[in-house]
Symmetry: C2
Subunit: 434 residues, 2 copies
């Protein structure tokens, strides 16, 4: 999508990869120090060695320090940090660890709708029960704790709800949860003894000026020791998002809280079957949690590059919302964070009928038509889940400003043509059915 | 263990990581060409992008070309190649794909004993049935097809044997299978309609002058189209072994043969949940399958380094066998390939009794004592499986020649002390009970 890698991150990993570069004057000293420190933590001082299954110890320590800083002093213990092969790997392993039972005793996993499909796929793969709770589209995709209660009690009839998954900032919905909302969720988890999986991979992607990222852990801490010492929590982060976008590294980490020591031992056993996460991905994660400091030579460039990426994303979040909301029959919540817009689209009844006749979801028909007519590929809302009778698509805000503007204008023109084509001429309904 | 990385591999990956190095005169042109080619195959020409879930296409093509060359012209189709996160990931995914059923219908997985514990762990995790077939220690750990028949028919009483796992060259046993033996195994798989999983990660690690690596695929091809077009086969390779030893990259690939197209589509779906294997590991794999050619600038150094690693391993394989076999009460098969010796050790009945009183396997007692008294860490045979009443340990041959010699002498001295301590003075039995 044209987003450039952060120079410092690539320098550190290249130095780890080929330590002969330590002698090169074209690499800054702070990158060399980082790389030397990481390599000292590696077996035989080589990025090619297996690390311990939980990850390189000094990187786990750096992550713990990062979390303490992020959360304004809430203590973090490196022994609770596990490096992962991207966040997906951590999420999958925690689900594997917790899912059990048969019939009415099967583990129920509460997930938001719309959701990132990793969750539904993992739940299916592990034979757990998917429990949907719906985000409130009319309220900027907020999480309403009453909806959690509803979903929980309905599911209790046929399974054992045990895990509550949250994605904050949201994917595909782009909302940023308020502190109050997180408190409510954690209170609910505490009351119902649920394990909270907080997918916080977009923690650096917050654009709306009135929004702020609050980690589940920090909010839990502020609720007092009764909560902080009892609610089981796993939080996930990744090199693939934020301002780095280094997906191919498959880097990430999870922090676990309040796991029973015997369960934690099983987790260590489980991750050790796969030996270790890729060490280059671990090194990339280290750069993210331990970036150049003001007195270091790479500070200025690093922060310029970081600010450029995040500034452009914030611009594009706004642009996307503005252009889409000006289209009749499209309604788009503010893209407060993450990297996606998830607009609701009005699909005329005739198009819905046509799709059904084709054995296809109506938003799939819409997205296929969009692809065919414009070359633009977006993902139908039905892939993420949505309230019955509503239709959406997910698009990223990652293309460059210029491309994104052209893209959005093409979507607009397509949508208007689509409405026209399928609307009854006697009743040109163009507003979102909401 | 002191083994140095192959310079060319690290150069190519460092160039992919930090393409500004393309301008550096200290990197050879052939490394630059490789890196440019790999990057052209990556989204946005960046190693930080997700690749397709099966891997970067040009790397899959290079792997197919490598296999054709390795197998003297047996055709390989890049569409049957999947890059993996180390070989473990591929093995796990194939098992996931194939394991099903409950009770008597549970999938049975035939594994060698001794085995690499990934297999038993994966079988437990997936709820499959482990079917042990014993390698013939008296015959250099050869695989006897009669033993396969025995194990298969015994297991048929209580499960559905469906998968046959082979490790060749062997881990932990270090044997290299003969072509005749592989033919017998494939004939058996054909007769019983078994899916063959050929763990061939040590294909470059063959030391005994009278041994040669034969891929299961090539042997199958030579058995004729009736076999080649019907036996389902998956073969696994890795960046972690061979002469590269780049474990931390988590690189590897699998080649699948004769998978039903619908099953293959499910495999693609399964691997896509984890997005993609680490791209740096894919790049490392590319170097292994596409090394410098005679007319390229890095050829000489590459082959010098490769020959040095493999030559040293061959020396150490011999040294290990020789020193161990000179110890009374230790019997070690030739280390024909891979990276391990798996000697049988005589443990006196008094030590066996003491271990049992401690609730411990006798070889675990032995290995703990060895660790405590010498600082040498080897793995008890009971972790890999062994015939009832026999005891072994696994050790790698990876330390430098000098260190390995000292280590082996310490093992010898320890063993003699251990025998003395536990032997009945009236009956100083020092020969292996076999």
């Amino acid at each position: 999508m044209g987003q450039q890698p952060i120079t410092f991150l690539r320098q550190v990993v290249a130095l780890c990869m080929f330590p002969e570069l330590m002698d090169s004057p074209s690499f800054p000293e702070d990158a060399k120090w980082r790389a030397q420190r990481i390599l000292r933590g590696c077996g035989g001082q080589s990025i090619g060695s297996y690390s311990s299954s939980e990850g390189v110890q000094c990187i786990r320590e750096d992550i713990a320090a990062y979390i303490e800083h992020r959360d304004h002093g809430v203590p973090a213990n490196w022994d609770n940090i596990f490096l992962t092969t991207g966040a997906s790997d951590g999420i999958m392993n925690i689900l594997k660890l917790l899912v059990s039972g048969e019939g009415h005793n099967r583990t129920g996993v509460m997930i938001p709708i719309p959701q990132y499909p990793l969750y539904s796929a993992a739940i299916t793969e592990l034979g757990a029960v998917q429990i949907n709770y719906y985000l409130d589209e009319d309220n900027c995709w907020a999480l309403d704790v009453n909806e959690l209660h509803r979903a929980y009690h309905a599911a209790k009839q046929h399974c054992q709800p045990r895990i509550l998954c949250i994605i904050n900032p949201g994917n595909p919905t782009g909302q940023v949860q308020s502190k109050k909302c997180i408190e409510d969720v954690l209170h609910f988890a505490y009351e119902e003894n649920l394990f909270v999986m907080a997918d916080e991979v977009y923690q650096d992607n917050v654009y709306a000026p009135d929004c702020q990222f609050h980690s589940f852990k920090k909010v839990l801490y502020e609720m007092g020791p009764e909560y902080f010492n009892s609610v089981e929590l796993a939080s996930f982060h990744s090199t693939s998002k934020g301002y780095t976008g280094e997906c191919g590294f498959r880097g990430g980490f999870m922090e676990i809280l309040n796991l029973d020591p015997e369960v934690k031992a099983q987790l260590v056993k489980l991750v050790s079957v796969r030996l270790c996460p890729p060490v280059a991905g671990q090194a990339a994660m280290d750069v993210i949690v331990n970036p150049p400091q003001p007195d270091e030579p790479s500070f200025t460039q690093f922060h310029k590059e970081k600010a450029a990426v995040l500034g452009a994303l914030a611009d594009k979040a706004k642009l996307t919302e503005q252009i889409l909301n000006a289209v009749p029959g499209i309604k788009c919540n503010p893209v407060q964070g993450a990297m996606y817009a998830f607009p609701q689209i009005f699909i005329p009844p005739k198009a819905v009928e046509e799709a059904k006749a084709l054995g296809m979801e109506p938003d799939m028909l819409y997205c296929l038509r969009l692809l065919e007519e414009t070359g633009i590929c977006v993902v139908p809302g039905s892939g993420f889940g949505q309230r019955e009778g509503t239709y959406h698509f997910r698009m990223t805000i990652l293309p460059s400003h210029e491309k994104l503007k052209v893209l959005l204008e093409k979507v607009r023109d397509f949508h208007i043509r689509f409405l026209k084509e399928y609307s009854d001429l006697q009743d040109p309904q163009c507003s979102v059915a909401a």
